[in-house]
């Protein structure tokens, strides 16, 4: 079955929850090695607290969405999650008692969760606390999916999802092979006071640009860094990828960026090649990451990846 078919099944799953009832009620007692290398025994995975947008996304993709009793504020996909589930706040500012009060039987938390003392308390509590890696790579997505699938007892669905993710990455690699000269791309996280926050080395943005077959022009800096106008001119990107905030309905973010003098004089500014993307979709490195990379790539290289190829691969819900 090709990616599109699988995706249709997932879309159906998300919409109707049809396959949910097919999952076993609980994986009675699995022991997993989590992202932090700890061995954690999970007895009952019927009430899950999910911390991290990617973790929540995987749970829903595996059809275990109805077992999620609480999430953190980065869990913004599927969009209804934050409205329907209890929120324990921002993942880096958790409260021990708040997390416990949700009454989950297992906590699945991104390694990026904090503060460290709270995580320490939670690891010592009787509720199993499973850490999920927060690295930005294809392998990380696969290991995240397998870990979560094992815990919710949906290993068959997990393998299907893994297969799809790997197929999608394979398609991406094939596409990348067709690209002659890689585009020079710049990822813009935000514009503050006329200063542009760009994604340098070791960021999810860098990984995503590379997956989409572009060269990150800001890889001289590490992490997300503010750069002055002049530095943007010097970087001379052919294309700019910028994060659209979920609150941005009127294209304010785009106009703020395209009006910057430094941006206007770059090749990207002259050719008006500024691509606005959704943050979690593009940088979350959940199961939709390959689709996000493909969306970017289709916009980077319309001449190489024709509409027929894009149609074949389809596009994940954003």
């Amino acid at each position: 079955m090709h990616a599109f078919g699988t995706r249709a099944v997932f879309a159906l799953t998300l919409l109707t929850g049809a396959t949910v009832s097919m999952l076993p009620a609980a994986a009675a007692g699995v022991t997993v090695v989590d992202g932090g290398g700890r061995s954690v025994a999970v007895g009952d995975a019927t009430r899950i607290l999910s911390i991290g947008g990617d973790v929540t996304e995987i749970l829903y993709a595996l059809g275990a969405g109805d077992r999620v009793v609480g999430v953190d504020t980065t869990s913004q996909f599927p969009p209804e999650v934050l409205k329907e589930k209890k929120s324990v706040g921002y993942m880096r500012a958790l409260s021990s008692e708040g997390v416990i009060s949700v009454g989950a039987t297992v906590v699945l938390a991104s390694e990026a969760s904090g503060p460290p003392e709270v995580v320490k308390t939670l690891k010592a509590s009787s509720v199993p606390y499973v850490e999920v890696t927060d690295k930005s790579s294809a392998e990380a997505i696969v290991s995240k999916v397998r870990l979560v699938a094992k815990i919710v007892g949906a290993e068959a669905e997990g393998e299907k999802l893994v297969q799809k993710v790997m197929d999608d990455f394979k398609v991406l690699a094939d596409w990348r092979a067709k690209v002659g000269r890689p585009l020079r791309a710049l990822f813009v996280l935000a514009v503050q006071n006329g200063r542009v926050m760009v994604g340098g080395q070791n960021t999810s943005a860098d990984a995503m640009l590379k997956l989409a077959g572009a060269k990150n022009v800001a890889d001289d800096v590490t992490g997300f860094r503010p750069l002055p106008d002049e530095a943007i001119v010097a970087l001379a990107p052919d294309v700019i990828v910028a994060m659209r905030r979920s609150s941005d309905k009127d294209g304010h973010d785009l106009s703020q960026l395209s009006e910057l003098k430094g941006v206007q004089s770059t090749p990207a500014g002259i050719a008006k090649r500024i691509i606005m993307v959704d943050g979690l979709y593009t940088l979350g490195f959940g199961p939709r990451a390959p689709a996000a990379a493909r969306d970017l790539m289709a916009k980077f290289y319309p001449e190489v990846i024709g509409p027929d190829l894009i149609g074949k691969a389809g596009s994940a819900p954003q």
Binding site: G89, A93, L94, I100, P115, E117, K120, T121, T222
Partner: protein, 361 residues
């Protein structure tokens, strides 16, 4: 106590000592209520009613199904949090009162002797350089790397300041003030430099730490602050006479037979130890140190025999009350403590100041 102070104290003594007794009594009752609420309110809905069960399970070692959870919440989460909250509130309020007494300025706070900015700088460095320069430090102290760094940074900055200022054998308060401002500016600049070179996740951590929180409370932290709580409790009564003397001025205090230099040194030392430990536990909480001693002075006058204990009681109460709201308003999420405290306290304070002003006080 000297004749001058005795004479000063005698005018209107009945009125002031009655209001002082009332204030301390009221503050003590308030603190008891805050302690009770702080232990019985929380996101899980577990109350103190579960305490007997938890205690009997702890002594007998026999756990029923829910008791482990209740024990975790009551004994390992709320109790250390309450104790640390009390310590932080009392330390910051007393430290503020001592600074205002020493500098004879109602706006003085522990920031003036560098302890807050030093602690903040060290904490910021630990957060932002955790993967590079500060990695061995974090490896050694684990989850306690940040509080340890804050404490060491705070004390070290104060020590540097004192050694700069007291080169001629005495510590001039005006020099201390200016040098403190300079050192704080330097620390601020270094913090800015680190913040500039950190990524967005580190920046969010920095911001959250700066807003203060007790969410990282744990027993090891409680044990770690016990020496500082004891130090403050033991030294404080011995500083009262000196502080009251300094109210009149340094020369006057000297003529009253007070060893001014020793007193000032002791004040600086106790303040930096108390504030260093408090900042290490809770992050930066700027509001308590200025507002609480002010309120006390408004209500009961400037005598440090009243100001210090009443500030400790009210500071602890304020922090506990604010912390209850911080963890309940958005439960199961948590608001930053510093934010809640300022929102709660600033209007009350403003009201009291304005009311006093109108009354011609």
């Amino acid at each position: 106590m000297t004749a001058a102070l005795r004479a000063q104290g005698r005018t209107g003594r009945d009125e002031s000592s009655a209001s002082a007794r009332l204030l301390i009594g009221g503050a003590a009752i308030g603190l008891c209520v805050a302690i009770f609420l702080s232990l019985s309110i929380g996101a899980t809905g577990i109350t103190l009613a579960s305490l007997p069960r938890v205690l009997s399970a702890m002594f007998t070692g026999r756990y029923e199904a829910d008791v482990a959870r209740e024990q975790l919440v009551l004994i390992d989460i709320r109790l250390p949090r309450m104790l640390l909250g009390m310590f932080v509130g009392a330390s910051l309020a007393v430290a503020g009162a001592m600074m205002q007494g020493m500098f004879r300025n109602p706006l003085a706070d522990p920031g003036l002797i560098g302890v807050s900015s030093g602690a903040a700088l060290a904490a910021v460095a630990t957060i932002a350089l955790g993967n590079s320069l500060a990695a061995p430090w974090i490896k050694t102290f684990g989850a306690y790397a940040l509080p340890m760094a804050a404490f060491v940074g705070g004390i070290a900055t104060t020590m540097i300041l004192v050694s700069i200022v007291s080169r001629q054998g005495q510590m001039a308060v005006s020099t201390l003030l200016l040098a403190g401002v300079a050192l704080a500016a330097l620390n601020g600049a270094l913090m800015g430099l680190i913040a500039y070179s950190s990524d967005d996740r580190e920046l969010r951590d920095l911001t959250l730490w700066m807003l203060g929180s007790l969410s990282g409370a744990s027993w090891p932290k409680v044990f770690a602050i016990i020496p500082f709580a004891l130090l403050v409790a033991l030294v404080l009564p011995r500083l009262i006479r000196g502080l009251n003397g300094l109210l009149l001025g340094e020369a006057e205090a000297f003529h009253l037979g007070i060893d001014v230099e020793r007193t000032k040194r002791a004040i600086v030392l106790v303040t930096s130890a108390a504030v260093g430990a408090a900042v290490a536990v809770s992050g930066i909480l700027g509001f308590v140190g200025i507002v609480v001693p002010h309120l006390v002075r408004l209500l009961a006058g400037p005598d440090h025999r009243i100001v210090l204990p009443a500030s400790a009681l009210m500071g602890a109460t304020l922090v506990l009350a604010a912390d209850i709201l911080a963890r309940m308003l958005l439960r199961p999420a948590e608001l930053p403590l510093g934010v809640v405290m300022a929102i709660l306290g600033a209007p009350v304070f403003l009201h009291m100041v304005v009311k006093r002003g109108m009354a011609g006080g």
